[in-house]
Amino acid sequence: MSADAARYAPRPSLVRRQRRERIAWLVRGLVMALLAIVFLVPFLWMVSSSLKQNLDIFEIPIRWIPDPVDWGNYLDVWTGERSMVRYFSNSTIVVVATIVGELAVVTLAGYAFGQLRFKGQNVLFIAFLATSMVPAQLMLVPRFMFFRELGLYDTLWALILPGLASVFATFLLRQHFASAPRELGEAARIDGAGEGRIFWSIYLPMARPALAALAILIFDSTWNDYESALIMITDEAKYTVPLGLTRFMSEDGTVSMGPAMAGSVSSLIPVLVVFLIFQRHFLRSMARVGLR
C-alpha cells in the first residue's frame, strides 16, 4: 500500500512544471489583455466622448471618465431635429425585410439543390456559382442603372431586393440540406405526405441552426452596409443608419464630435446586442462560412 502511495504521489518535477504552466497561463493572459486594450481604445474614446460636452472632448490630457457625465449628446441625437429615429427605423425595415426575403428564397432553392433531384440540377447550380464570381464592384453601375429604370432608385427597395439573389447563401444551405438523410422524406412520401409538407415539417426544422447563423450574418452586413445606401439613396427621409451618421460630420466640413460619437455608439448597440446574445453562434457561423 505504501508502495502505491509513493507511485501516485506527484513527482517534484511535475509540480514545478505545473506551477510554471500556471505562470505562463497568467502571463499570456496579461500580455493579450494589454494588446486587447490597445484595440479597444477607439471604442473607449467613442463612448467617453459621447458623454462629454464638446469643449471637454479635446481636453489634454484626456479624461477617460467624463466628469460630469453629460447625456446631452444622446438627447440631441435622439430627439433633436436631426433625430436618428428615422434612420433606425429605415435600417430596421431593410434588415428585417432582407432577412425574411432572403431566407425564404434561399431556403427553398437550397432545399431543392441539396435534397431533391431534377434534370439540369448540376448545370443550374454551377451557373449559379459562376455568377457569384462576378465582383460586386462590377455590379455597382449596372445595379444603379437598373433600379433607376425600374423606378426603385431612392427607395428602400433598392437596398432590399439585391439581397434576394444571394448565391452564397444558397450554396451554404444546399450544403446543409445535402447532409440531411433522404430516407426521412422517402418514408413520408410513402405515407402519402405532400412535397410542401415534407419540406415544411421535416427538413425545414432541421435547418434551423443554419438559418439562424445565416440570419445573423445578414443582419450584420445589412445593418452596416454603407456603400449601397450611398449609391441608391439621396432623400434624407430614407437614410439608413450609416448614411445618417455622415450627417453629423459633413454639413459644413466641421465635425460636431459629441453628437457624432453618441450617434456612432447608438449605431453599434444593435449589432453588439445581437453579438452578445448569440456570441457562440455568431463566432461559429463566421468560422463555418470561412472554412467552407
Binding site: W25, R28, G29, V31, M32, A33, L35, A36, P42, F43, W45, M46, F58, I60, A104, L108, A109, A112, F113, L116, F118, K119, F128, T131, M133, P135, Q137, L138, L140, V141, P142, M145, F146, L161, L164, A165, V167, T170, R189, I190, E195, D220, N224, Y226, E227, L230, P242, L245, V255, M261, S264, S267, L268, V271, L283, M286, A287, R288, G290, L291
Partner: protein, 294 residues
C-alpha cells in the same frame, strides 16, 4: 416520378431564386458589360446611351489616373492584406492557448469587425488628427517631435488607411484561424512529439501546412474585398489629399457618380475584375501542394 414526386416539383422550389438571380445579377451584369462600350451620363435616360466601341478602353490605357490608382490599389491590397493576415495569424495562435478571460479577450479583438465604416472612420479621423489626435500626442510624448500627418499628408494617408483596415479585420482573421486550429488532428501532434519534434518543428510541419487552406481563402477574399471597397475611402479622405488615396474602386465610383461617366466607370470595373480574377487564380495555383492534405 423516379423519386416519388413530379418532375416540376423541384423547379417550384428553385424558381424564386432563379428569377431573382436573373433579375438582380444576370441582367445587371450583361447591361454592365454593354455599358462599358458606350457613352452614357444617366441624366439623358436610356435614349442617351451611345455606342462608342472600344473608346472607353482606349482612353483608359492612356489615363494616368487609371494607372496610378491601379498602383495604389496594389499597395493598399498588396500590403494591407498580408499585414492583416499576419497580425490575425499571430493573434489566433496566441488566443488558441489557455489564458485567463480568453473568451472576453477574443471578443474584444473581434469587436472592430462589427462596426460600420462611418463610426469607425470618424473615431480614427479624430484619433489620427495630426495636432489634437491622441496617437500623435502619444508619439510626441515618447519623443517623436515630428509625427506623421496621417490623413492630411499625401505620404501618410494610404498607410493610415492600411493601419485602420488591420484594426478592423485582424480579429476576424484570428477567429477563423482559431476555428481552423481546432480542426487540426491532435494525433499528428502526439506522434510528432513521440518522434521528438520540437515546438518550432511542429509548427512548420503540422500547424502551418494545416492552415494553408484557410490562409489562402483569407488571402483571396480579403484581397478582393480591399480592391473593391470604396466606402471607407469615400468617407475618410474622398480619395485625397491630392490623389494619394484614390484607389481603383474609388476612381470608378468617382467616374460614375461624380462625373456621370457611367460607361467609363463600367470599363474601369471590367478591367479591375479581370485583374482580380487573374490574381486570385495565381494565388490559388501557388498554394496547391503546400497544404497538409495535398
Amino acid at each position: 416520378m423516379i423519386d416519388g414526386y413530379k418532375w416540376w416539383i423541384p423547379w417550384l422550389f428553385v424558381m424564386p431564386t432563379v428569377v431573382c438571380v436573373l433579375i438582380f445579377l444576370v441582367v445587371p451584369l450583361f447591361s454592365g458589360l454593354f455599358i462599358a462600350f458606350t457613352d452614357w451620363d444617366v441624366v439623358s435616360g436610356l435614349g442617351g446611351i451611345r455606342w462608342i466601341g472600344l473608346e472607353n478602353f482606349q482612353e483608359l490605357l492612356q489615363d494616368d489616373m487609371f494607372w496610378s490608382s491601379t498602383l495604389r490599389t496594389l499597395i493598399y491590397a498588396g500590403v494591407g492584406t498580408p499585414l492583416t493576415i499576419t497580425v490575425g495569424l499571430f493573434l489566433g495562435l496566441a488566443l488558441n492557448r489557455p489564458m485567463p478571460a480568453r473568451g472576453l479577450i477574443r471578443a474584444i479583438f473581434f469587436l472592430p469587425s462589427l462596426v460600420n465604416v462611418i463610426a469607425a472612420g470618424t473615431v480614427w479621423l479624430t484619433l489620427l488628427n495630426p495636432t489634437s489626435g491622441m496617437v500623435n500626442q502619444f508619439l510626441r510624448w515618447i519623443g517623436i517631435s515630428d509625427p506623421p500627418g496621417w490623413f492630411t499628408s499625401q505620404q501618410w494617408a494610404l498607410p493610415a488607411i492600411i493601419l485602420m483596415s488591420v484594426w478592423i479585420s485582424a480579429g476576424y482573421v484570428a477567429i477563423l484561424i482559431i476555428a481552423a486550429l481546432q480542426d487540426l488532428p491532435t494525433e499528428l501532434y502526439e506522434s510528432a512529439k513521440l518522434d521528438g519534434a520540437g515546438t518550432i518543428r511542429q509548427f512548420t510541419t503540422i500547424t502551418l501546412p494545416g492552415l494553408v487552406p484557410i490562409l489562402t481563402f483569407l488571402l483571396i477574399t480579403s484581397f478582393i474585398g480591399r480592391s473593391q471597397g470604396f466606402g471607407l475611402i469615400q468617407f475618410m479622405t474622398g480619395g485625397g489629399p491630392g490623389d494619394s488615396t484614390t484607389v481603383l474602386s474609388y476612381y470608378m465610383y468617382e467616374a460614375g457618380f461624380h462625373l456621370y461617366r457611367f460607361g467609363y466607370a463600367a470599363a474601369i470595373g471590367i478591367m479591375s475584375m479581370m485583374a482580380v480574377l487573374a490574381l486570385s487564380i495565381a494565388l490559388f495555383k501557388l498554394q496547391r501542394g503546400r497544404g497538409l492534405y495535398t
